[in-house]
């Protein structure tokens, strides 16, 4: 089981100071073997990070091993090809440590289908060379006709190769979004807050994520429901990396969204949730814990979760 960290950036009053604290923690946690670092997209509060890809590319040179995951990505705040590109660039700078998780449609004020279409577009772009895409929300390239097949399609017949520098003013019907990611299978997640997305993701084999603000019981129910549908659809566990994000307070109280108690209590609670839901990646949403907590969690919870 992988164990990672994310942060409540909105608790900082000042981005410079707050982000420096996060960076220091990432550097420490990377050395201690935490498997992933998630920066959530946000733009409401002074220290929110609207562009996690930039933050994580910066972190790619401060870390060696941890996965660098863009979290809560929204579909309307960047042009679609940029989302494809930003992850590939991050993946090459970090040599295969990039990942991308989308925010639920409900938090973005868009229909779930818009998020699904974006995921289809992004993952198809990584997996193909020249491609076009006809969706309800995304059309790539722009002149793709209504007659093009729905979703991603690739040229049927390939004639004599015409290099780009000989294209002239032509706008070809298919384009390759580059660069490609460093590794063949970049992790993609979506938060399964709405039923439509939960079902779609389970059928498509897109990995689910549940964020820190959904109560633990509800989170467990939704992840279990995802697992059921995925099983029915023939999507086995090995395809899926189910992620649960929780707040943790060592020696503190357990509440609706927080795991508390001794390290052993937290360990048992996470194992219990794993049994109920099939999660394979736990993310600790940090909200003011101390470096000492980080070490205790690393040596008394994280290491032991591996077996």
């Amino acid at each position: 089981m992988r164990v990672g960290l994310s942060w409540d950036l909105d608790r900082f009053e000042d981005a410079s100071a707050g982000w420096q604290e996060v960076i220091s923690e990432v550097v420490e946690a990377d050395r201690m073997g935490f498997h992933s670092f998630w920066i959530h997209e946000g733009r409401e509060r002074p220290a929110d990070c609207p562009m996690p890809s930039v933050f994580l590319t910066y972190l790619s040179r401060k870390t060696q091993s941890g996965q660098l995951r863009i979290a809560g990505r929204r579909v309307t705040h960047a042009l679609a090809p940029h989302i494809v590109e930003e992850v590939s660039v991050l993946d090459n700078f970090s040599r295969g440590r990039a990942g991308l998780a989308f925010a639920p449609a409900s938090r973005q004020g868009v229909v779930p289908g818009h998020v699904h279409e974006m995921i289809d577009f992004v993952t198809s772009s990584w997996a193909t060379d020249e491609m076009r895409f006809r969706g309800e929300h995304i059309r790539f390239p722009a002149h793709t006709p209504d007659e093009a097949p729905a979703g991603a399609s690739v040229p049927d017949v390939e004639g004599d190769y015409v290099p780009q520098w000989e294209w002239g003013p032509e706008m070809p019907d298919f384009l390759s979004i580059t660069p490609k990611p460093y590794v063949p299978h970049t992790p993609v997640h979506v938060e399964i807050d709405d039923d439509e997305t939960l079902e779609w993701a389970a059928q498509q084999g897109i990995s689910p994520m549940v964020g820190a603000d959904m109560p633990t019981e509800q989170a467990a129910r939704r992840l279990a429901r995802y697992r059921e549908i995925a099983d029915e659809a023939g999507r086995s566990r090995r395809e899926i990396e189910a992620v649960l994000e929780r707040r943790v307070v060592l020696d503190g109280e357990t509440d609706e969204c927080t795991l508390g108690g001794s390290p052993r209590d937290v360990l048992n609670a996470i194992r219990d949730l794993r049994g109920k839901t099939g999660i394979s990646h736990f993310v600790w949403r940090r909200g003011g814990a101390t470096p000492m907590d980080l070490y205790r969690f690393a040596s008394e919870v994280q290491v032991l979760l591996q077996a």
Partner: protein, 330 residues
């Protein structure tokens, strides 16, 4: 006069194929070296949908550099602003400005390759106007707590940008190629003007045009800044320098200058695969200045005298340049 530079690696080039991740690593390594050598800025360009996987998001490229440097400015040369939502671009820049302690300099161009506009579902025709509007949006977003803007292409009402950039506003340059029209527009808007490679005489004309337009629009001279790309090829002899230039042309420039409509004729028409005898192509190749250390210093002194604020030097011969040329300008 500041000196900025860049390095190779953000693409897989045909004559020298390399692993892209190795190239990215070299790009960062070379930035650390450039900072140590005394260069003032370091940047990445932008292109999309390229067979050679050219860097599409220059602010990400320099975000990697930000993590391992402390003083060098992090620039885009150029970022193709009409291919972004202006707030998206401002958010990227502000994010990096916070991470880097205020070291971002945006070199912003309008782009020219037709299929890039098609890929981003945006009209090539309006790119000039959108570049200017978006630069104003970025200026407002990174200097005011909240702002409104009513442009032809972009409109905002009481918008706020988080995080707050360190620079208020973030440093911006209008990359207008080598056109007099671009220079006039930048001057009229009071934007810093960053020329593409061009021979000295043409550079002088452009700078004059720019300053005049700026003065007419009521801008103070201190607000009117100029910079230029300036490839130099240094040899012990002119033959050596010219051989180096030819290598650059064969290995890199020919494809990009001849192939994608970079050159624009007097009617505003892009030239695709023009002959190597075409005057515009010849003017471009001549703008890659060849000389010995002495004549290159002399040439750059002319730029300094012209009031150039920054010259962007090429990726090659950086150690030589740092050792023999930069000290002449300290």
């Amino acid at each position: 006069m500041e000196f900025w530079t860049t390095s190779l690696g953000l693409a897989k080039m045909r004559p020298m194929p390399n692993a892209l991740a190795d190239g990215y690593e070299n790009f960062v390594r070379d930035a650390v070296r450039a900072e140590g050598l005394g260069f003032d800025g370091y940047g990445s360009g932008e292109h999309h949908f390229m067979y050679d996987e050219f860097m599409p998001i220059p602010l990400q490229a320099v975000a990697a550099v930000a993590a391992v440097t402390s003083k060098i400015r992090l620039c885009t040369n150029a970022m193709l602003l009409p291919l972004y939502d202006p707030i998206e671009a401002a958010e990227m820049a502000a994010t990096l400005d916070v991470l880097s302690g205020g070291r971002v300099s945006l070199g912003l161009g309008m782009g020219y390759r037709p299929y890039e506009f098609d890929g981003f579902d945006t009209a090539k025709r309006t790119r000039g106007a959108r570049l200017r509007e978006a630069m104003e949006v970025i200026r407002l977003a990174t200097s005011r707590e909240s702002f409104s803007y009513q442009g032809k292409h972009y409109q905002y009402e009481n918008e706020s940008l988080h995080p707050r950039s360190i620079q208020r506003p973030i440093d911006q340059w209008f990359c207008g190629g080598t056109s007099l029209q671009g220079a006039r527009r930048a001057g009229a808007a009071g934007l810093g003007y960053w020329l593409a490679n061009s021979p000295y005489d043409h550079t002088e004309d452009i700078v004059k045009e720019y300053r005049q337009a700026g003065a007419e629009a009521g801008f103070d001279e201190s607000q009117l800044r100029v910079a230029s790309f300036k490839d130099v090829c240094i040899g012990n002899t002119m033959e050596e320098a010219e051989a180096l230039r030819q290598m650059l042309i064969d290995g890199f420039y020919d494809e990009h200058i001849l192939g994608y409509g970079y050159l624009v004729d007097e009617n505003g028409q892009s030239l695709y695969s023009p002959s190597r005898e075409h005057p515009l192509y010849r003017r471009f190749t001549q703008s890659l200045y060849c000389g010995t250390i002495e004549t290159v210093v002399e040439e750059l002194k002319r730029y300094e005298k012209l009031g150039m604020d920054m010259v962007f030097l090429p990726s090659q011969q950086q150690e030589l340049i740092a050792k023999e040329i930069l000290p002449e300008f300290k």
